[in-house]
Symmetry: C2
Subunit: 232 residues, 2 copies
DNA sequence: CTGCGCTGGTGTACGGCGTACGCCTTCGAC
DNA sequence: GTCGAAGGCGTACGCCGTACACCAGCGCAG
């Protein structure tokens, strides 16, 4: 009775609630204003309490990315009876919608390099859209890279292999087998060297970059030559 | 004679030498390992000494960007007798070459948002390449934006106006006049609404994003339909 | 030659950060 | 009722950026 329920004295923390609070706080003060201490204070808790739910700040940031990917999923549901191009388009625009709601998130996506399960899931399903349209694994691979180059001269590396731990022993092979099952589309576009090796060598970064660059320049030239105008 | 010249006891600091040392240090320990204290130590000087040459760490970072843009200039000299597409291509690849030499720099370019003179110079000359090819100011504007979108759903904002200080009074007009003279190409593509206003309203972000997205998707589709293979 | 001001390096100090480590409370299972 | 684990607490450490006051040496006016 006297138990204050709605505005309770303190709700027990858990990982999702911590992540949600972190996202909310970042919405308020930006990602550079987000600190463990500040977040703890927002939750009415001492800083070290957070470490019971999150290994460290990096993992908190990764968790926030995960959280946002969840939001993308919520947005981009009805992408049924379109061709691959339309589906890819609406998917990207759904992602964009989420990113626009959380302006700080762009930085976060750019910064984080570790690929959590959620990130791989997203990439996998995106690759799936292209593959289901009949695009070859090769073209899909390069297309994935193409969506992200810039005038300054670099490409967002999607598959930054970091081969510090090259496939070693039979248990590694088993793990890759499992990966291939969980992320079949990624597996399909990751290997193009031989049909048997599921996860191939890293890709030729320079090639990817020039592929994307030429894609853009060709498209611009085509529009230029056909007298493109913004208001047709 | 006894004056130790080459390995002197202490060379006087100045802004360029501080920036160069910062770049060198970042090459060693990465940009996240770069701290004012560490940099000072590397220069054999007390941390606060740096603040005589750089207002704060943000300005140091901006200065490093400047420094790298200088390197791009050194690389991309011989871009004479090509068409606009070729010149844009070699320019971008020159930028890329520099970025590859300093892997940490990509993050830095993505993070920094303030446009120093060097940045504007670079953008201006890049726009100049496109304009000199006969591209309309409109198409050039969108093309600049297009070189930098990604699957996650955002575009690198080149002209993030942040209209906190909208053009006010006659002295602002004078400043814009000066801008237009120093960066004529940027002025040309920044305004497309009326021929008289030199610096127009901010641009439609959503339009830019979809322009770039369609550019890429169209290009991929074209390659797909014509049976593109990586080894022709 | 003297004194003075300016430029640039120094020393100290403060508040904020991430987080290691150990203690204490709470609560569900038995 | 007991116990063990899970979760929140307190303290402490070593980094960080940087404000502020001070001082060394040099160029120059007198």
């Amino acid at each position: 009775m006297a138990r204050p329920d709605a505005s309770g004295p303190r709700a027990r923390l858990n990982r999702p609630s911590v992540l949600a609070a972190a996202v909310a706080l970042a919405d308020e003060v930006g990602v550079e204003g987000l600190s463990m201490r500040r977040l703890a204070q927002e939750l009415g808790v001492v800083p070290m309490a957070l470490y019971k739910h999150v290994r460290n700040k990096d993992e908190l940031l990764d968790g926030m990315v995960e959280f946002l990917i969840g939001e993308i999923g919520d947005v981009g549901e009805t992408e049924a009876a379109e061709d691959w191009k339309g589906r890819a388009r609406t998917r990207v625009l759904a992602a964009r919608e989420v990113l626009m709601r959380h302006p700080w998130a762009r930085r976060l996506f750019e910064t984080r390099s570790t690929k959590t399960g959620a990130v791989l899931d997203y990439m996998n399903s995106f690759a799936g859209i292209l593959l289901s349209g009949g695009l070859s694994a090769e073209l899909t691979h390069h297309a994935m890279h193409a969506i992200g180059g810039r005038m300054w001269g670099f490409t967002q590396e999607l598959f930054e292999d970091e081969p510090s731990t090259p496939p070693q022993g039979p248990e590694a092979a088993a793990m890759m087998q499992e990966m291939a099952q969980r992320f079949p589309h990624i597996a399909a576009i990751a290997s193009m060297e031989h049909d048997d090796s599921v996860v191939g060598r890293g890709c030729d970064d320079q090639f990817e970059f020039e592929f994307a660059l030429d894609l853009i320049l060709d498209g611009i030239e085509r529009r230029h030559l056909s007298g493109w105008r913004s208001t047709p």
